[in-house]
Symmetry: D2
Subunit: 439 residues, 4 copies
């Protein structure tokens, strides 16, 4: 790992490839293009709009993050990707219905040139989608090779100096780690043997790492949580990160959960329901895909609340999560949470939260930040799991044996102190007793 | 300031005196007594139920706070106070209607012995209350002396080794700092001259400090925010803390506000309404008292969001707070918040939060923790403003010129690192890159 | 049908038998007993607390319903029933946790004497319940005969002059009308042959009618909707009514639905979720039982909104109902509805309703009213389907070929005009132009 | 009063004049124009989209209202009005921000020709508005004459056969009926003497009636509730109607209130808060204007619930209404209601309703229907107060001594039976026992 002036400068173009050219990725791409043209602001992006405090409170040093640490410029980003439909990014964005048509028409030229490459797809892994713009090959290894060829071609055609891949496609059916995922050797054999335990997202991740570029997992898929992929990333000195972009209801949970815990308020039950009407909702209407999402969503509270350490407060918590496909909402995603809490002497109280959110609007800045910070990680020679980016994920990946931190506020302290550390600034621990020393 | 083994041990009884024997203080007292008798748990109290992580995550050291740092035992607490009504703590608790009658009857004996001393009261400062169990004297200095005599007598009669005072009475009418508050000298002249700028709560605070005991301000009153009182505390080496217990809607705001800020989501408006039916609601129905509360409640978001640093996101935020007296709720206090936010490219979303809370239930553990940690502060020879206890206050008191931290999560890091510092443990900054070093 | 003074007077005791001695029936029984003893008021009961306007608005005639029409007195009610558990009504009420223990203890003597008779039960019809206090017999006809013997014995032992039966037990698995239900003959053959299409509730209904007593269906079970049972009721001159007590979320729907329709506001979607923690919730966690409930709940809006008459407004409405077992709520049943509406030129608006309700508290007065009005119907010689009692049901039973009225307000006009008609009072049509004639 | 074929046919143009060319009136005008051009549907309008059931349910006769009774055609409507700003209807609609700019631009030509006449305005009656496009004259009688001249000119210039006036301007300061309002004579003297008790809206109403055209009061102003105006309407055989369009939260109240009452559920308290950001909100931020609105809003529940008849249920209800100016909402008007109810034996439940509504969208079809039905009333020679149009008003005007009906469902029965009566169809009373007679 390198720090300070030794971090390689972000020279040249950065290619960002997304499996999935849908609501999330087109909102991200359109937003970057609109920002470049002065048509909008990349709100929600820490890399673009955030400040970072340095030193003592009394020093008043608080530069923009992007002025503090060397990140790729929005001007240098180039976009590409794969999909099972042939729509270009303009058409896909119009279909998604997230952004207003007027805005999309102003950047139609730029978006229209972003055309998907045919996808690696397996109907067994996503039951409710049907598209036929897919790669065909005898073995999964052949599919991986085809993706690597795509990456190489894209890099050349777009004169990129660096690239990375970020999954913005659908949630796959729930699977657990098995033998084929245990070692690189097993995994590669599985690719050759068409092992059913290897999902499309794993093929993409493998292809990315073998091409020397970082892989980011925006869905709750298993993908880079298996030993084979982690080992590969460490071996090849490439950063990986995941999983499942933290947006909507889970974002709320990692805000409210730590808040209640900070005050040691007990929780009897937490009921969460979601209604959403886009393709994501349709996919999650399938029980298998929902299972994957549910596991990701349920684990959050346990890690935040630590029932094993606070059994009187959280051990008997009943946690239920429901996702409902409800077309009238379109890309809007609405959640309603009922939280039954108890305080002093066990007295009961209730909290209800209704979040009228827009999923892709919340996800787009996360995609941008992760792309830029992962590119930074690679230039800083940080390999393997990037726990400091936990801030952006529902199920943060950590080293085996290490309890993940779900508390968004501790995640943020970790994230900022990592940036300070990278740039040789003193870390902040918020003690601050010295301000009062000479009183 | 002393640390580690040099901190004086909490030997003997700790007397806790509350101006105001009402819903909050009786819920606190009843809860401590019930806990001592095994009739309930002091949920929400970090001093009693909290753990604190020490060292690296992999060390698995996480003792109870009360096993880590020397705090007074619940067995050693003795309660007293003042009120404008003669009801003893049992009667006052029955009237307040917070706790169930069955529970109160089980501890009737203990509560009945807690009888108020006559209060210092000024009708100009609390317009909607009418009680006549009040001290009469020619000057405010005489009133202060009477309170000091009360303290002394209580200490002797109850064989206390240490004492402190914590304001749990009503919100006073809004006043601003003026000449009489600027120096100790002016203030003492004002006491002699019956200066109208000196409120009852200031008389209590003065009497506490002159008696050598800490003063904690649980209401949004000006009290210990004025230079004269701060100077006195520093001169006499006594800790002070305030102000306004962080409960209910503001607790929610210091959870949600930092959450939205962490993700740099913009805010167009935040509308907060409250309905409450107890004496607190009645007092706040007076415009003067409401003003004091409103100023305290409004300032929270500004400090959390820092609009001067993020003008695109927070400068035009419209923030409105309403408090409505609504008798059907009794001691229940219900809030509804509507938050209009915006994200990526300015797209709008909404959050609605309905909190069905119980004010005194949320306040009681705060009273207990503040009492125990302020006693610790005094034994550790920490004088003046205790910023590390910001965690418990709506409007945390800080040194002049120092921006207060309202973010409850940073407040918690500060609080925990202060405890670690006091006990000579390494501070935690959540960097954690070393876990990955040997990968 | 008889009217006015020809209606038979309600002399002697009225025996009310409930299949199911659980939350609903014990809350009903306890409430009647408590009311008799002056310990509470039968709030929600139109028979006990309602007024009825008679004549012109200017006449100011508005007697209590019970003073207007001859109803059985609360003093004359006697309670009995069947259950699969042996708990008496006191024990069952304590378990249900609806009413406070203090109240139940004050009427413990009366409740304890109400002991269940062993139930007719079939595990295939209610999958999530397990009890063994059940009748055993070779054929379903034998079971029906056993119930008839129970009825006869109860009548004699309690010296009842009249009786009726009201289903307050669980929701059975979804079934549709088949051949066995088509005629009385087929049905009786089915009883002898143990036809699987005959559910326990049908056996109870058959036994009631053959014993000459009215049957009321409080659940969404098929029971008395089949031709065989309707034919039997008409043949034997006995009133029947159903189905599914209108409480909670559906009550809300039949209030809000007609309200939106009255103003011709269009509806894009209506999403309803429920969380409930009692035995009812457990039963409905079974897909089969939920199906029965779902069909009952979904049909409501269609009948209210008449999409075939207002296709521009309601034809594309997406309606989704979810029921979630969530133990922390206990007998509380909470619903959250999101309604997406549109108005002038198609502009969209939203309504969110959160109902924190208590199911048995809402159901108990419905049970009481239905018992008293069905007894009235029998004394007035009104046989078969009692559409005028639609007011109390989620899925009102009507004559074949007649569209049911779901609008609770039209149901109420129908109900009141029926009472007026029975007593020979002029019907009210709310025209009222005559008030202005002499202006 | 005439009925059936004797009602005068709606030949020629109908001129609709609105004091106030703002959000409500321009949304109404734009919607009519858009509907004429096939650009939208007049959703919410009973006159345009409603059906009416005739005869028995089994007859299946349910024509469109507009096919059943002779109403003016949308093609024949002509619009005009007065305002204190010179913006034409296109400019005013663009400023109001209710309708999308794209739509407004498609009908820019038609809207632009609608130019306000200078208004009668008195700053004492609307404190928060400041405009200078106002009529100046020595006496209020002169102002009335100027309005009459405007009406006459408009009629001629637009070749109208009939006209009417409908108030869509701001809420005036609260005033009560005094001597000047008691008789026509006093009132006319007051106009000559510039009596301060005569508000601008009264001047408009007087001018309308003296010009022989109906007056409709869409705000909670006193206007046509005073004896002088009612007497004038009766004397001159002109219909009047009011007051305060029923939209938003009050619409909800007249839906939910009757629903809870139908089931005799008791109410402890009803807390209503509103947030709105348009000019209406700004005006209501003035205490005087709010008082007028508050009186109108508070009275609704009392009339619906009849606490004098149901003292156990409604006598102690605590009802509080708050309106808050909150700019981020723009023309959106959002309400939150907390309703504390109780049922069987006094057990408590709660209902929370959050209505995200658009005020002008809800008001526009009300304006259209009232215009068309008032024109019908005049052609049918129905003079004075039109109670049958109560359905559309928050505070329905009734004959003195007659309790108003607030229940929206009874209002609807009254409305429909009046239409049936006018056309000689049998009235419907929902008894329907005859359907079952031959069973």
């Amino acid at each position: 790992m390198k720090t300070g002036i030794n971090i390689q400068k972000p020279k040249g173009k950065l290619g960002i490839l997304t499996p999935g050219i849908g609501a999330v990725s087109t909102t991200f791409m359109a937003g970057v293009i609109a920002t470049r043209k002065g048509l909008g602001q990349p709100i929600g992006s820490i890399s673009q709009m955030g400040n970072i405090r340095l030193g003592k409170r009394t020093e008043n040093r608080e530069p923009k993050v992007k002025d503090f640490i060397p990140l790729a410029s929005l001007e240098d980003l180039v976009f590409g990707g794969w999909d099972i439909f042939t729509d270009n990014a303009y058409e896909a964005a119009m279909n998604a219905g997230v952004l207003e048509k007027d805005l999309l028409n102003e950047i139609k030229d730029e978006l229209s040139t972003i055309k998907p490459m045919p996808a690696v797809f397996d109907h067994n892994y996503v039951k409710n989608l049907h598209g036929d713009y897919v790669k065909k090959a005898d073995t999964k290894m052949d599919l991986a090779n085809a993706v690597m060829a795509d990456i190489k071609r894209f890099k050349t055609e777009n004169s990129c100096s660096r690239m990375l891949m970020i999954w913005t496609a659908s949630t796959e059916v729930y699977v657990e780690t098995s033998t084929v995922h245990k070692t690189i050797e097993n995994f590669e054999k599985g690719l050759l043997n068409n092992d059913p335990g290897i999902s499309p997202s794993m093929i993409y991740a493998y292809a990315a790492l073998k091409s020397g570029i970082p892989y980011i997992n925006g869905a709750p898929n298993l993908t880079n949580d298996v030993p084979a992929i982690i080992e590969l990333a460490n071996q090849l000195n490439i950063p990986i990160a995941g999983k499942d972009f933290k947006t909507g209801q889970t974002l709320m949970k990692t805000i409210l959960g730590p808040g209640l815990k900070a005050r040691l308020l007990g929780i009897d039950g937490w009921f969460s329901t979601n209604i959403l009407g886009n393709r994501d909702g349709e996919v999650l209407d399938d029980a298998g895909s929902f299972k994957t999402k549910e596991v990701s969503k349920l684990s959050v509270l346990d890690s935040v609340l630590e029932p094993e350490k606070y059994p009187e407060l959280y051990k008997n918590m009943y946690h239920k999560v429901r996702i409902n496909y409800y077309p009238p909402k379109g890309d809007d995603k609405e959640s309603w949470d009922n939280i039954d809490i108890f305080g002093w002497l066990g007295y009961k109280m209730q909290i209800k939260v209704n979040f009228l959110c827009k999923d892709s609007i919340l996800a787009a800045p996360v995609v941008l930040d992760l792309a830029l910070f992962m590119d930074l990680a690679q230039r800083a020679e940080m390999k393997g799991i990037q726990e400091w980016l936990s801030f952006y994920f529902k199920s943060p990946q950590t080293k085996e044996g290490l309890q993940p931190i779900h508390d968004i506020f501790l995640q943020k302290v970790k994230f900022e102190n990592t940036l300070r550390h990278l740039m040789g600034e003193p870390l902040i621990n918020y003690l601050g007793l010295d301000y009062y020393e000479d009183d």
